[in-house]
């Protein structure tokens, strides 16, 4: 049983190497496993389906490049769905870099649906001030938003004029990677104005949202890259998120194997004592 002892003191760099390979190989040679749909994702999808044409959806990009890997695919899939349903997208962000990242998705998707800036979608950019800002935004948008992200007066756009306060918002989608983010939207916005909030979060934050899902404070949830992959599947447009799912599966299996080995070692040690 020398082998097990060696495994026990396994240099963790070997683990690291295996994890690295398990990610790289399936990316180059994809397997194409199917994706199942969970209820919180379906709820977001259904809510968007139920909205009447022309409804205003606030898409708040509350993330930064650190979580871009997880949230950009979700942003893209959600915006795609909104445009397909002819909803109006009002983009903003509680994090400085968020709206810039979100804009990349808007700009690449809008032309495909013939959407016009200022009419069908708008980006008002980064909105600093967290909680305080959210409260005043819900009260009166005009107090706070005078120009879009490029500095063009907001009144010069039909969509800019259409949104006056929280009452005009049919749904808020926050793509959230931390604070300020989904919690602030719930506490400072929804709790005050009753606006429905949907969210896509990093997978790390997802479990934390379940209490809010079950209390109805959240409409639905896209958790991590998996959530984005599910949404991509629901809108029948498989892209980057679905591609990453194979690597996910392999690494997860690898981890389970590690854990099993760890426990075999434990059993062996126990028996020896």
């Amino acid at each position: 049983m020398k082998f097990l002892e060696r495994l026990e003191n396994l240099d963790r760099r070997i683990l690291f190497l295996l994890v690295g390979l398990a990610v790289i190989i399936p990316l180059i040679f994809p397997l194409g496993l199917p994706v199942d749909i969970t209820r919180p994702v379906k709820s977001v999808f259904d809510r968007v389906e139920e909205l009447p044409e022309g409804a205003i959806v606030v898409v708040s990009c509350d993330y930064d490049p650190g979580s871009e890997a997880e949230l950009t695919p979700a942003t893209a899939a959600f915006v795609e769905h909104c445009f397909r349903r002819n909803l109006r997208v009002y983009m903003m962000g509680l994090w400085p870099a968020g709206p810039e990242l979100g804009n990349l998705s808007l700009e690449s998707i809008a032309p495909r649906y013939g959407k016009e800036y200022g009419v069908d979608y708008i980006n008002i950019g980064y909105r600093p001030g967290g909680p305080v800002m959210l409260v005043s935004l819900g009260r009166n948008v005009a107090d706070l938003v005078r120009a879009d992200y490029a500095g063009v007066p907001i009144d010069s756009f039909p969509l800019g004029r259409a949104l006056k306060s929280a009452r005009d918002i049919d749904l808020v989608m926050t793509l959230s990677a931390g604070d300020p983010g989904v919690l602030h939207w719930i506490i400072y916005f929804s709790a005050r104005y009753g606006t429905p909030i949907a969210t896509a979060t990093t997978a790390i934050m997802a479990p934390q949202q379940y209490p809010y899902l079950s209390s109805g404070q959240l409409v639905g949830l896209l958790g991590g890259l998996k959530g984005a992959a599910e949404y991509e599947t629901l809108i029948e447009m498989k892209a980057r998120a679905v591609a990453g799912m194979d690597s996910q599966s392999i690494v997860h299996l690898l981890l389970v194997v590690f854990i099993v080995i760890g426990n075999v070692i434990l059993l062996y040690q126990k028996r020896r004592i």
């Binding site: 963790r12 650190g66 931390g178 709790a191 005050r192 009753g194 990093t202 790390i204 479990p207 934390q208």
Partner: protein, 359 residues
């Protein structure tokens, strides 16, 4: 016949009233009307039969808050509803005036709650101050803090104290600063070096004060080295990369991670583990607890973090507040049980009591 019925049912019922719980700057209008209507003109006047001025047009809802009102002035309102080819006016309602309110009655539930909790804590603090002995059970993670400092001293290695990555407006950071005071006092006594890298300048300023005063209290003002309490960068991962560097280069024997953490928790804890340090973590929110629990030797969970500074101080007054918290928990449990029973019998009294959405 049908037409008459339509006309009869198409009445528009308007209600105008002073907006509750505001500062006297608005009047709220609500109306009920048949779904055949899709747009409403709102008119307002200073006297019931004077000239009504159009205020605005509403299309998508049946409520409006008029904020363009002078305090104390009486107003009259009327609404015209438009449908496909129907028009209907409501009767004139009024007079209404906007009155400033001095207490937000919608928040009375919160006020009562705060008063009860404050009272519970203050009550036990007072009892403790009178010299009453209050029993507080041993909390393993907290007991481990002193041992861990002792271990670093024996090994002749420094102690690393990471106060989280958030600013002093986060309660976890404040709790961490309080614990830092106790940790610094101990390390100063032993003469063990203490590194406190921070991610926020304000936390650095506060930590410098805390450590300096602790050194003075321990009678070792010379031990305090201001450069050991330093600011690195506000950036989450920039900060982590530098703290990781400190860990592998200075090889501290004990790492404390107490405060508010996000994804960096596991990067810190795993790097710390690889250097063989004893690790004690503590954070209040559940998100990062699993990683600290998995990778650290001891973890202060949730409330234990806040209890730690009171516990470490061993001051009766502070311990008294822990007893007050326990009363708070008891209240929570009772409220939950009552709330469930309340729904079981279908009363929903408690359910509504804990509502916070405002109109």
């Amino acid at each position: 016949m049908l037409l008459i019925l339509l006309v009869l049912t198409n009445q528009v019922e308007l209600k105008a009233f002073d907006t509750p719980n505001d500062d006297g700057s608005s009047i709220t209008l609500n109306w009920q009307a048949d779904t055949l209507f899709n747009s409403y003109f709102i008119f307002k006047s200073l006297n019931p039969d004077g000239d009504f001025e159009k205020v605005c047009e509403i299309t998508d809802r049946t409520t409006y808050v008029d904020t363009n009102v002078a305090g104390g002035q009486e107003y009259y309102y009327q609404i015209e509803a438009y449908g496909m080819d129907l028009t209907e006016s409501s009767r004139v309602v009024g007079p209404v005036k906007a009155i400033p309110h001095i207490f937000n009655t919608a928040r009375i539930n919160i006020a009562v709650f705060i008063v009860i909790l404050f009272f519970a804590v203050i009550y036990y603090i007072t009892r403790a101050r009178r010299g009453e002995k209050l029993f507080i059970r041993k909390i393993p993670g907290i007991a481990a803090i002193e041992e861990a400092i002792g271990r670093a001293t024996e090994m002749g290695k420094p102690v690393l104290y990471v106060p989280g990555i958030m600013d002093i407006d986060e309660p976890e950071t404040i709790a961490s600063m309080s614990i830092l005071g106790r940790v610094a006092e101990k390390t100063a006594e032993y003469g063990t070096p203490l590194y406190v890298p921070t991610s926020k300048a304000m936390v650095m300023s506060m930590a410098q004060q805390v450590v300096k005063e602790a050194a003075i209290r321990a009678g070792r003002p010379d031990w305090f080295n201001i450069d050991n309490v330093r600011y690195l960068t506000d950036d989450q991962f920039g900060y982590v990369s530098a703290v990781d560097g400190i860990m592998v280069r200075e090889k501290p024997a004990t790492n404390f991670y107490l405060g508010k953490f996000y994804a960096e928790s596991l990067i810190l804890a795993e790097t710390g583990f690889s250097t063989g340090a004893i690790q004690i973590a503590g954070t209040a929110l559940p998100d990062q607890l699993p990683f600290f629990v998995a990778a650290c030797d001891y973890t202060l969970i949730g409330e234990e973090l806040y209890a730690a500074s009171a516990y470490l101080s061993q001051e009766p007054v502070q311990l008294g507040s822990l007893k007050g918290q326990d009363i708070g928990k008891l209240i929570f449990i009772i409220v939950i049980v009552l709330g469930v029973l309340d729904r079981l019998v279908g009363l929903d009294i408690l359910y509504n009591l804990f509502s916070t959405v405002q109109q």
